[in-house]
C-alpha cells in the first residue's frame, strides 16, 4: 500500500546516489523509472530518427549537423545509462532491445522524409524540453544536475527544427511538405505526456521529483508548439488539441 503522506520536499534534497539508497522504496523506484525511461527513449530516438535522417538531409551542412545531433542524443542516453548503473539499475533494463519496457509510441513512426525529421525536431524535441525542464528542480540532485547538463543541447535540437523549418518554408512547395509533416507528427505528441490520472505522475510530484501534472505539461506544450509552428508560418492540426 502506498504512503499518501506528502513529504516536505523543501527539506528532502537527495544530493548523492549514496543518499538515495537510504530513501523510501517509493522514492527510489520513482527515480529509477525516470532514469530508465530517459535512457531508453534517448537511445531509441537517436536510432529511429537522427541516424536515418543523415541520409535524408539535403546537403552536407545538414548531414553533418544531423550527425552531431545524433551523437548528442546518444550522449544523453549514455549519461542517463551511467546514472542508472550508479543507482544499481541493471544495464539490460535501459537498452531498448533488451528490455520489455516499450519506448514512446512516437518512435513507431517510420521516418521517410527530411521534412518529417524537421517536424520531429521542432515538435518532439520541444516536448523533450518540457520533460527535462520539469526535472530542473528535482529533489534527487544527480537527476536534477543531469537535466541541467542536457538542457542546452535539447534547446539546440529544437532550434535545429526551427532553423531548418524556416529554410523549408521559403518555397510554397517546401512549406506544404513541412505542414503535411507537422499534420502527421503532431497528433502523436500529446500522448508523450502520459495519462491525465497517472499514478506515476502523482508519485513524482508527491516526492518533488517532478513539479507539474501531465495535463499542465500537455497544455503548456500545445501552447508552446503552436507558438513554435507559428514562428515559421505553420499551424497545428486541431485534432491534436482534441486528442489531448
Amino acid at each position: 500500500m502506498t504512503d499518501t503522506t506528502k513529504p516536505d520536499t523543501a527539506k528532502l534534497q537527495i544530493k548523492t546516489v549514496e543518499e538515495l539508497k537510504s530513501q523510501p522504496e517509493e522514492y527510489r523506484t520513482a527515480c529509477e523509472k525516470l532514469v530508465i525511461s530517459h535512457a531508453i527513449n534517448e537511445l531509441y530516438g537517436a536510432r529511429a530518427f537522427d541516424e536515418p535522417a543523415v541520409a535524408l538531409a539535403p546537403h552536407p551542412y545538414a548531414k553533418w549537423l544531423t550527425c552531431r545531433v545524433a551523437m548528442e542524443e546518444y550522449g544523453h542516453h549514455v549519461r542517463f545509462f551511467e546514472l542508472g548503473r550508479e543507482m544499481g539499475v541493471e544495464a539490460d533494463r535501459m537498452i531498448p532491445e533488451k528490455t520489455s519496457k516499450k519506448p514512446l509510441s512516437i518512435f513507431d513512426y517510420p521516418l521517410k522524409t527530411w521534412e518529417e525529421f524537421v517536424a520531429i525536431k521542432l515538435l518532439a524535441d520541444l516536448a523533450e524540453i518540457l520533460q527535462v525542464e520539469d526535472l530542473l528542480h528535482c529533489t534527487f540532485h544527480p537527476l536534477r544536475n543531469l537535466a541541467r547538463m542536457t538542457m542546452p543541447e535539447e534547446r539546440f535540437h529544437a532550434q535545429f527544427g526551427l532553423d531548418f523549418g524556416a529554410e523549408l518554408v521559403k518555397t510554397p512547395e517546401g512549406k506544404a511538405r513541412l505542414q503535411a509533416a507537422v499534420n502527421t507528427v503532431f497528433p502523436t505528441m500529446p500522448n508523450f505526456f502520459g495519462g491525465a490520472k497517472s499514478r506515476n505522475n502523482e508519485i513524482f510530484r508527491k516526492w518533488g521529483i517532478k513539479l507539474r501534472t501531465n495535463e499542465e505539461m500537455r497544455d503548456d506544450y500545445i501552447n508552446r508548439a503552436r507558438d513554435a509552428a507559428g514562428k515559421i508560418g505553420l499551424t497545428l492540426p486541431e485534432v491534436a488539441v482534441a486528442a489531448a
Binding site: 546537403h59 552536407p60 551542412y61 553533418w64 549537423l65 550527425c67 552531431r68 545531433v69 539546440f156
Partner: protein, 184 residues
C-alpha cells in the same frame, strides 16, 4: 578469427590518439603542396575526377556545405566505401566487438571536436554554435570512417585514412560542388 582483443585494442589506441590531432587548426590557411597531394590522392581513391580548391574563411566554408549544387557523387562514393568496410569489418570482428570499439572512437571524437571547432571559428571572429556543430559532425564522421578503415585492415592509401590525416593536420574537407572539391 584473429585475436579480437589484440587488434580491436588498436581502435582503442586510435580513440586515445584523437586528442593529439590538430582539429581545425589550419583551416583558412593556404594549402601546402603535401596537403594538395593528399587531397588529390583522396579524390583519386574515391574515383572522383575533380579539381581541388582551397577555402579561406568560415562563412565561405558554410556556403560550400549548403550549396544547392553540391555533387552527391562524392557523398555516395564515401557511403559505398563505408558499407564495404563495415561488411568486411563485421566479418573479421563480429558485430558486438566492432560496434563497441567504434563507439569508443565516436564518443571521444564527439567530446573533442566541438570545442576545437568553436575555438577555431572564434579565432576568426565567428560565434555560430550551429556551424561549429557542423564542423564537429564532419570531424566525428571522419574519425568513425578512419576507425572503420583500420578495423577492416585497409592500408594508409584508403580514402578514409587520407581524409582523416587531413582533419588531423587541421583541415576540413568540405565536399564536392560541381566538379571542384573544396578543402578548408
Amino acid at each position: 578469427m584473429p585475436a579480437l582483443a589484440a587488434d580491436l585494442a588498436g581502435l582503442g589506441r586510435f580513440a586515445a590518439s584523437l586528442g593529439s590531432a590538430s582539429w581545425f587548426a589550419a583551416v583558412g590557411q593556404d594549402l601546402t603542396a603535401a596537403e594538395r597531394r593528399e587531397g588529390e590522392d583522396y579524390l583519386a581513391a574515391l574515383a572522383l575526377n575533380a579539381g581541388l580548391a582551397g577555402v579561406s574563411d568560415w562563412r565561405t566554408a558554410e556556403k560550400v556545405t549548403r550549396d544547392p549544387n553540391w555533387n552527391p557523387a562524392w557523398w555516395n562514393a564515401e557511403e559505398a566505401a563505408r558499407q564495404a568496410l563495415l561488411a568486411r569489418a563485421r566479418e573479421i570482428w563480429g558485430e558486438h566487438g566492432l560496434l563497441s570499439a567504434l563507439t569508443r572512437v565516436t564518443d571521444e571524437a564527439t567530446r573533442l571536436t566541438l570545442g576545437a571547432a568553436s575555438i577555431a571559428a572564434a579565432r576568426d571572429g565567428i560565434a555560430d554554435p550551429a556551424l561549429s556543430r557542423v564542423a564537429a559532425g564532419a570531424a566525428t564522421q571522419a574519425a568513425y570512417q578512419a576507425a572503420l578503415a583500420l578495423a577492416a585492415e585497409t592500408g594508409a592509401a584508403h580514402p578514409f585514412q587520407i581524409k582523416f590525416r587531413l582533419f588531423a593536420a587541421g583541415r576540413w574537407p568540405l565536399g564536392l560542388v560541381g566538379d571542384t572539391f573544396h578543402l578548408f
